[in-house]
Amino acid sequence: MKVGTTLSFTLLASLLLALLALPLVTILFKQLAFDFQGFLSTMRDGATLRAVGLSCFAASISVLIALVLGTPLAYLLARKEFRGKKIIEGFVNLPAAVPHVVAGIALLTVFGRGGWIGRSISPILTVENSMLGIVIAMLFVSTPFLVNSAVDGFKSVDPRLERVARSLGATEWAVFRRISFPLAFPHIFSGAVMSWARAISEFAAVVMLVGFFPMIAPGMIWYKFYTAGLQASMGVATLLLIISLSVFVLLKYTGVRMFAEH
């Protein structure tokens, strides 16, 4: 690449990076440098901590469910050819493409009190004002990240590795467990981290399906913003940002290091 091209690419890339980084850096800087006391009082606020904790917990549960259900789906999409595969791939990607308010409405029509699943489970379970609803909404919006990454992971494993394993006496399940899954795991792990990050940030779909309570972190930010203004909401936003960023960086880099030696 010529110097002129590199320079223009760097300039264009810097513009985008500035757009991405400036708001995040500003909120951190404003809160931690100019209103650290406010941040500390947010950290001591029980309702805020409960909301952030609930977000983290529900996001983790939704990622675990996505892992258990999404990994086999990803394997089938990566390895098998079947009728309707393109349609299924479309469905997998749809939650990432539709506005999340639409996702919320769609979920309500199925899991809401009047929805066909919601109605049948209503004697025992309800999605409204419940942890179950939060997890379902998070799962819905975050699954594409995990499944797509896992599909890439399984596709990166040469099928001939699996064939060799079969010739060495491994059953299909043993090949999956001992060869395909471990080799695709860095992709799956990366997808799970992205999926977790997406789940914890979800607001619209959760509020549409569950309502404001139990309150998740983005709900708390929204509530504080509308009832007490920008300054009041910034503490929760900063806390959520720090937690998300730390988990994201920690998992990404420990994950990379875990697999790098091979």
Binding site: S167, L168, G169, R178, L183, E261
Partner: protein
């Protein structure tokens, strides 16, 4: 057996390999060699026909129950497992006890000279080491049959030669039946007890290397095993010598009894090239001129127009000593026994 696969078809393959034999399937890229091996291994099911191993019909058995080893060109060692774990993989899949696993894996690694590599990951191995590990991983299970898909193609020439010798020695030591596919005729000639030549999804000829390389039965096989000069002609045979009219005023003599329409095949290295007519036992002497020169390092390949266009190979030294150029007038001399008639 026959098989249609992704627009390609294997047609009426009928092949019998003897126990303990080193059988080489030789053919150009795209002949269907790998697909044939993968069907034998059980990775694909034939559309019709059967695969029988040691008298047992294995057509419906999954690969893991066939006891057939497979070594691909790229070896496909499991990259997340160390060498020892790769070698032990099959034994673990069989549910052998830990002591037996350790004993057998160590024995095979010693036999193939890779025991010092046991703690390494495949990424840290050379091409030759990878091949030894792949062989050890397959042979530790004592398979009834070992399938080798172009196992030497990914190697540099020196390593390839070393490992070619090693493959032969491993075959002798372990006595396992080998089916090895390759497009390299030298490899086939040096390794095979018998060769099957494959083209466009068919096995076109089977025989001992000497027979395939000296007396091929078809033009395709003749070309593939190095008879670069194949000419159609009309032969009249008498007393063990055939006189062949190749057209354009070119008449040559061949050893044989074939009369009528024939194909005369001559290897380029069997043709002697000189600037003056030679006093020799060669019954065929043709006069012509050089139309094309291709330098191949130690040798030079020439095209000579002598009524027909002949391919001739000379050493680089001869080429320089004779001061050959495009357009140089030359004589081609070859024995009647160097002409194979199909």
């Amino acid at each position: 057996m026959s098989k249609e696969w992704g627009g390609f078809s294997l047609r009426k393959i009928n092949l019998e390999v003897q126990g303990g034999e080193y059988f080489v399937i030789l053919g150009p890229t795209g002949a269907g060699k790998t697909l044939l091996l993968e069907i034998v291994a059980g990775f694909h099911r034939p559309d019709e026909g059967k695969i029988i191993v040691g008298g047992e019909d294995v057509t419906d058995l999954p690969p893991e129950r066939r006891r057939i080893g497979f070594v691909y060109q790229e070896y496909f060692l499991f990259p997340h497992l160390k060498v020892r774990e790769n070698v032990e993989f099959g034994l673990r899949m069989r549910g052998e006890d830990e002591k037996k696993i350790r004993r057998r894996s160590l024995r095979i690694m010693r036999a193939l000279g890779i025991d010092h590599l046991k703690a390494r990951y495949p990424a840290a191995l050379s091409g030759g080491e990878k091949q030894r590990v792949a062989l050890a991983r397959a042979l530790v299970l004592e398979p009834r049959l070992l399938l080798l898909d172009e196992p030497l193609s990914a190697l540099d020439p020196i390593t390839r030669e070393n490992l070619r010798n090693e493959l032969k020695s491993v075959h002798r030591r372990f006595g396992t039946t080998f089916i090895h596919v390759t497009h390299d005729r030298e490899e086939a000639l040096l390794l095979a007890d018998r060769i099957g030549v494959m083209n466009k999804g068919r096995i076109v000829e089977i025989g001992e290397p000497e027979k395939i390389f000296r007396k091929p039965r078809s033009e395709f096989v003749a070309n593939f095993v190095g008879f670069e000069n194949v000419f159609r002609g009309t032969s009249v045979a008498k007393g063990g010598i055939a006189e062949v009219d190749l057209g354009n005023g070119v008449r040559i003599e061949a050893v044989g009894e074939k009369s009528g329409g024939v194909k005369a095949c001559i290897r380029p290295e069997e043709i002697f090239l000189s600037k003056r007519p030679l006093e020799s036992s060669g019954r065929n002497v043709l006069r012509g001129w050089i139309s094309e020169i291709s330098d191949r390092g130690a040798t030079v390949r020439l095209k000579v127009r002598a009524g027909k266009e002949f391919a001739v190979i000379v050493t680089k030294r001869s080429f320089e000593d004779l001061k050959l150029r495009t357009g140089s007038k030359v004589y081609l001399t070859f024995k009647a026994s160097a002409v194979h008639l199909i």
